[in-house]
């Protein structure tokens, strides 16, 4: 039972990381980056390439994945977001970026899943009566730390406050001297950096697979919807909720059901609490 809880927390943490990536970009630029899960997938593939193909030391692999995905995300903002004004057109272009990364990954690394080795011990340990791999604990801990750090950053630093200001009212932030464009670029690049650095950490669990992105994109989105758009702690809790729902249905029903159950949860949340558990309702304004 405890083993099941550990695996739920692990997979939930991955979804929470996707939701966090959506949130960072969404808060700073109002864009829903459909391709964020693809950026994370790219990080995992780069971890595979660095560790298995090129046999680089782990520190170099972290840097490599971080920098490449950082650049990819910045490029996405410059090419697919900045020249496009309409929100629906931005959705189309981010779907385009997602499709492009999916296609490229499939072309370069093939369609079958590749195993990414864990960089430290691979010995199962028993914690609170449940068997768990060290890399699983690292994923869970990293996620919690990342979310807490981002929360502190957004409340305590000027950049964080500027991002909140943009989310609240873009025009008045502009008038206050916030460089909205540079922050949007920065948020994309930062989310890319994060996605790249996480590659070697989540890779051992998720495998480097071309189908990875679609799955975590959707489940990460459900985590986001449960937690509320723009809420960092909401995304964390939402991720864990989805993780538990998926693992428990897979265990106690059968493998056809997790997607259906998670979809039903999504519909229920959107119908009953469209602003999520942590999101704020806003009054409409002319």
């Amino acid at each position: 039972m405890m083993t099941l809880i550990w695996s739920s927390l692990t997979i939930g943490a991955v979804y929470a990381l996707v939701a966090t990536g959506y949130n960072v970009v969404f808060t700073a630029s109002g864009v829903f980056n459909f391709a964020h899960a693809q950026l994370m997938m790219l990080g995992v593939f780069l971890a595979y390439a660095g560790l298995v193909v090129l046999k680089w030391p782990i520190i170099v692999v972290f840097l490599f994945a971080g920098v490449v995905v950082f650049l990819a995300a910045a490029l996405e903002e410059r090419i697919a977001i900045r020249p496009v004004r309409l929100a629906e057109a931005q959705l189309v272009t981010t779907v385009g970026v997602a499709t492009l990364i999916n296609g490229a990954a499939q072309r370069i690394w093939g369609p079958s899943p590749l195993s990414v080795p864990y960089f430290a011990s691979n010995q199962t340990v028993t914690v609170f009566g449940g068997r768990v791999l060290p890399d699983e604990i690292v994923i869970i801990a990293t996620t919690v730390v990342v979310v807490i750090l981002l929360m502190l950053l957004s409340k305590r630093t000027m950049i964080g406050l500027a991002m909140l200001a943009i989310a609240e009212n873009r025009e008045s932030a502009l008038l206050r001297g916030v460089n909205v464009r540079r922050l949007a670029l920065g948020a994309f690049a930062f989310s890319g950096l994060l996605a790249g650095l996480l590659g070697p950490i989540i890779g051992p669990q998720t495998f480097a697979a071309a189908g990875l992105a679609s799955a975590i994109a959707l489940y990460g989105f459900v985590a986001l919807a449960i937690g509320g758009f723009g809420s960092l702690p909401g995304g964390l809790i939402g991720g864990f909720v989805v993780g538990f729902a998926e693992e428990f249905t897979a265990r106690y029903m059968n493998s056809n059901y997790p997607d259906v159950i998670v979809f039903v949860i999504l519909l229920a949340v959107l119908l009953l609490r469209p602003n999520g558990l942590f999101g704020k309702a806003r009054e409409r304004a002319v």
Binding site: A89, V92, V95, G103, Q106, N256, L266, L270
Partner: protein, 611 residues
């Protein structure tokens, strides 16, 4: 050039598509091979899917990635019927469309609540679920193996031959495209375009934004359902593999390529996406990369796609000649202004605060029919807040607002608009890409209704309302002096003209209350004079006018009653004569210390002090 363009214009716009349709219907008779007939059929299915997406993406501005799921629903429904002896293809189509609508509504309602990305995700999720659902119901769907044993389709009891089936498919596509064309050229099409650009404007015209978006999305499911039923009869075999996410992406790519905001663009897009991949085998492998680049470039560059280019060319070459030959039509000053049924608007004890900020405190205000009621006050005094509460954009904290005894507060803005409240905006809200006449027409949405079905199938009701529309739009354009500009693009007009256009749009709905939000600002003297004359005419015709204005002189000359707001409270109410000399008004609003001198200055008819 000129004669050519006139001749071109006199040809109905559906002529070319009609000729193309007849040719396609006859192709097998002209010796098209069976293999190529199959390509035509596949293009037909894809056209239906893309066309449905165009309705939600291009017209309603909602990205729906779920077309494959709706397609699958239609296909499985038809397959199930075909396996169990209901082989009539018409019946199958009807059942498939019904099922498609149910799935569309079920996923559309929650998906639309949070904004466009939310619908994109829920509909994307739907596609991912297809194999799971197929596995959960192996009896009905055949699971991953697929549904087999679908009997040959019949048409009212007659077994379908190959050519019979071909005809059913092609005619279904033609019928759908005609339906779609009629829909988007009707007032509903204009309503969709208005809503896409300004939800606020749409709701103040009496259009329910949520319902209209949902309708467009749900209607977009109809052709996908039809396509599904037709597809099940192609090979008499349906399996989950067909309905992949790659299909969703190629539908989206086809939509962008052909132009999302178009009717026939779906055909272009479908042809390219169907025939393109078969050109080279290496393409299959790189299809995703190609689609990805296409979507990025398409999203950035060609917002309107191939058919947008064609449309622009048409406008440039054919309509240009017409513009030159048009004669100048002077605004008439003698016109018949129809009687208006004004209603009494009462605001009683209304308060509103945002957080700790009190915007309005215990405001009372009455506006009578046949009178001009003005609301003045310095910036930040709460005028716009009050206006927005009357229109239903903010809920009130306390107090009531009613229209001839009908309570307005806590109704939605589009419901209030439908009760007969029309407004203009401080900054004119004129959607891009539609003509002056169409802008005015959008104001006719609430007074006289036409259902979607009546509009798309051109029922007599549609033609009746259509002729009323034409008459009244022409009449109002004449009154405001914009007849010359009727076919110009509305958003490129100068500010003063756009303000007049907004008033025309409000007047054409025959409002019971007309709310003018700073309509005189930015107008030159002639325009102000014309505005004043219009307001007087509306008043004399029995309309209720509420004027929110900064132009003190205009207000003094027009209003029957003036209410002065300062810091969220009404500090004075009365006739222009009272207000003009009210010391508190002069101090608070006009900011003068020496009250006598200021009163004398106004007396001496200087330009109205403005802040």
């Amino acid at each position: 050039m000129n004669t050519l363009s006139t001749r071109l214009k006199s040809v109905p716009s559906f002529t070319l598509p009609l000729i193309a349709a007849i040719v396609i219907v006859l192709l097998p008779q002209l010796g098209l091979s069976v293999t190529n007939q199959r390509q035509v059929l596949l293009i037909g299915f894809l056209t239906l899917l893309v066309s449905g997406l165009n309705l939600s993406l291009g017209y309603a501005g909602e990205l729906a990635l779920g077309q494959p799921a709706i397609y699958a629903t239609g296909a499985y429904v038809a397959a199930y019927m075909g396996e169990h002896g209901s082989t009539d293809i018409v019946l199958q189509i009807v059942a498939a469309v019904a099922a498609a609508l149910v799935v569309g509504l079920l996923t559309g309602i929650p998906g639309l609540r949070l904004g466009s990305w939310s619908l994109a995700m829920t509909s994307f999720f739907l596609v991912l679920l297809i194999p799971d659902i197929a596995n959960i119901f192996p009896g009905a769907t055949g699971g991953m193996v697929g549904a087999v044993g679908i009997e040959n389709g019949t048409f009212f009891g007659v077994a379908l031959t190959n050519y019979g089936y071909y005809l059913v498919v092609v005619l279904s596509v033609i019928f759908w495209l005609a339906f779609m064309r009629n829909l988007v050229t009707s007032r509903h099409g204009i309503a969709l375009r208005v809503m896409r650009q300004s939800p606020v404007l749409a709701s103040s015209l009496g259009i329910s934004v949520f319902r209209t978006k949902l309708l467009a999305y749900a209607l977009g499911a109809v052709p996908a359902g039809i396509a599904g039923a037709l597809f099940a009869n192609l090979d008499h075999y349906v399996s989950p593999e067909t309905f992949s996410f790659a299909l969703a992406i190629s539908i989206l790519a086809a939509s962008i390529l052909g132009g999302a905001t178009s009717v026939y663009g779906a055909v272009f897009g479908a042809v390219i996406m169907q025939l393109g991949p078969s050109v080279s085998t290496s393409f299959q492998q790189d299809a995703l990369i190609f689609y990805g680049i296409l979507l990025i470039v398409g999203g950035v560059l060609l917002a309107n796609g191939v058919s947008g280019l064609a449309n622009n060319a048409w406008k440039r070459y054919v309509l240009k000649g017409e513009r030159a030959t048009r004669t100048k039509h002077a605004a008439s000053t003698e016109f018949h202004f129809p009687a208006m049924a004004g209603a009494k608007l009462s605001v009683k004890g209304v308060s509103k605060s945002f957080g700790g900020n009190v915007a309005l405190r215990d405001v009372d205000l009455d506006a009578e029919a046949g009178k001009v009621t003005a609301l003045i006050g310095p910036n930040g005094s709460g005028k716009t807040t009050l206006l927005n509460m009357i229109c239903g954009f903010y809920p009130t904290d306390a107090g009531t607002i009613d229209l001839d005894g009908v309570q307005l507060d806590h109704r939605r803005s589009y419901q209030i608009a439908n009760l007969g409240l029309a407004r203009t905006f401080q900054t004119p809200v004129i959607p891009a890409g539609i003509t002056v006449a169409e802008v005015v027409l959008s104001g006719r949405y609430s007074p006289e209704r036409v259902s979607i079905a009546a509009a798309a199938l051109r029922f007599p009701r549609y033609w009746k309302v259509h002729s009323h529309d034409q008459e009244q739009v022409a009449e109002i354009l004449d009154i405001v002096g914009l007849t010359d500009l009727a076919h110009e693009q509305a958003d490129s007009l100068p500010l003063g003209t756009r303000r007049m256009l907004e008033i025309a749009r409000a007047l054409v709905s025959k409002p019971r209350v007309l709310l003018l939000d700073e309509s005189a600002s930015g107008l030159d003297e002639d325009e102000v004079a014309r505005l004043a004359m219009l307001i007087r005419r509306v008043r004399d015709a029995g309309g209720t006018v509420i004027l929110v204005e900064h132009n003190f002189r205009l207000v003094l000359s027009l209003a029957d009653t003036i209410h002065v707001l300062a810091q969220g409270e009404i500090i004075a109410s009365g006739t222009p004569a009272d207000i003009e000399v009210d010391p508190r008004v002069l101090r608070e609003y006009l900011g003068v210390k020496d009250v006598d001198a200021a009163a004398a200055a106004i007396e001496a008819d200087t330009t109205g002090p403005q802040r």
